[in-house]
Symmetry: C2
Subunit: 207 residues, 2 copies
């Protein structure tokens, strides 16, 4: 804890000699550590980490993907666990369930007004704030690398990779003035383009 500092040498040497580039192992550990810090005790604990994750998901998923099953796939968990989390958020009045328009087994999950307000306390905001403080170039590179890693790891883990419709292989931008999703067979507005979709397929991603 205390710094004895017996000799305040100038410390002007730029780098230790034996630095042979970043160690991937350390990066991976750091990434997991960062994710853990997001939901550490210092954060808002009025919701549990699982509840925050669900609230964020339903706030940013498109209409096709706002179901308990889609959330369970996104979160790499079981439908049972996802069901419990959703139930708890409905009990708190932050989510609500609507009957699905075409499928009698399913439900459409929506944020309530209270749910949208609750997002203001999202513990993830601290990390988002840190990311915003990065230089634009660095932030862009970081985001792109994350997306690339997300795809690669999802492939290894046989998990679906989620993404925004604007980056999706089903997204047809060849029509002038409008964007068409070949998967859902519907036109997309700009809000749709920024939403998470369960049917995301890597395709329009720049390398």
């Amino acid at each position: 804890m205390s710094e004895p500092a017996p000799m305040m040498s100038p410390n002007s040497q730029p780098e230790p000699a034996q630095d042979a580039g970043p160690i991937p192992c350390h990066s991976a550990e750091l990434l997991v550590h960062l994710a853990r810090l997001v939901h550490s005790a210092a954060a808002d604990v009025s919701l549990t980490p699982a509840q925050w994750t669900a609230l964020r998901y339903f706030a940013s998923a498109n209409r096709l993907s706002r179901t308990p099953s889609a959330f369970s796939e996104f979160n790499a968990t079981t439908r049972g666990t996802a069901s419990q989390t959703v139930k708890s958020l409905i009990a708190l009045g932050l989510l609500e369930k609507r009957a699905h328009e075409s499928d009698g087994r399913s439900f459409l999950i929506e944020l309530t007004e209270a749910g949208r307000a609750k997002l203001a306390d999202d513990p993830l905001d601290d990390l988002i704030h840190c990311i915003k403080d990065l230089s634009p170039a660095r932030r862009a590179a970081f985001t792109e690398t994350l997306a690339q890693l997300g795809e690669a790891l999802a492939r290894l883990r046989a998990a679906p990779s989620f993404g925004k419709c604007g980056d999706c292989g089903h997204c047809d931008t060849s029509r002038s003035g409008e964007v068409f999703c070949r998967c859902s067979q519907s036109l997309l507005n700009s809000a749709d383009m920024r939403a998470l979709c369960i049917d995301f397929a890597p395709g329009n991603l720049r390398r």
Copy 2:
């Protein structure tokens, strides 16, 4: 799931028009999602996520930091929880406890031979493999950004930021041929320089 694909347009348009740069919110969610995928059900479940985290920590922390207390600080948890995790790994024969040389209250935790062997099944290896597949430039930028974010978030959360001694402000490289730690008042070898330290202070980090 199925792709109807009514019109196979050339899809040669490079980018959607309304792309106004990466959204920080999406990056943060993706980072948390990546960390979650690491320990998803597809991974080796012979150890729990908490146990893997502890095993990794004691494998990469330096002598000063291989105590239950240091691990609890690193992991942003309580000493009670950390104690449980360590106990379970000792019961599995993957860690062992040695009496601390100067402090009778404390213990030095070491990996056993079985513990070191177990690291070969680390679920984090999949992510590490993905990171290794990045181009060197991209990987270097990614690692550096992660370190920067780790420091910033640790400050916000009042958590200690851990790092390798080579990047630490206590590290004195002004002597020729040897490296001295002003904090522990000891000389460092190259293995020490790559180890996590609880007394890490940002200082030698390149910007």
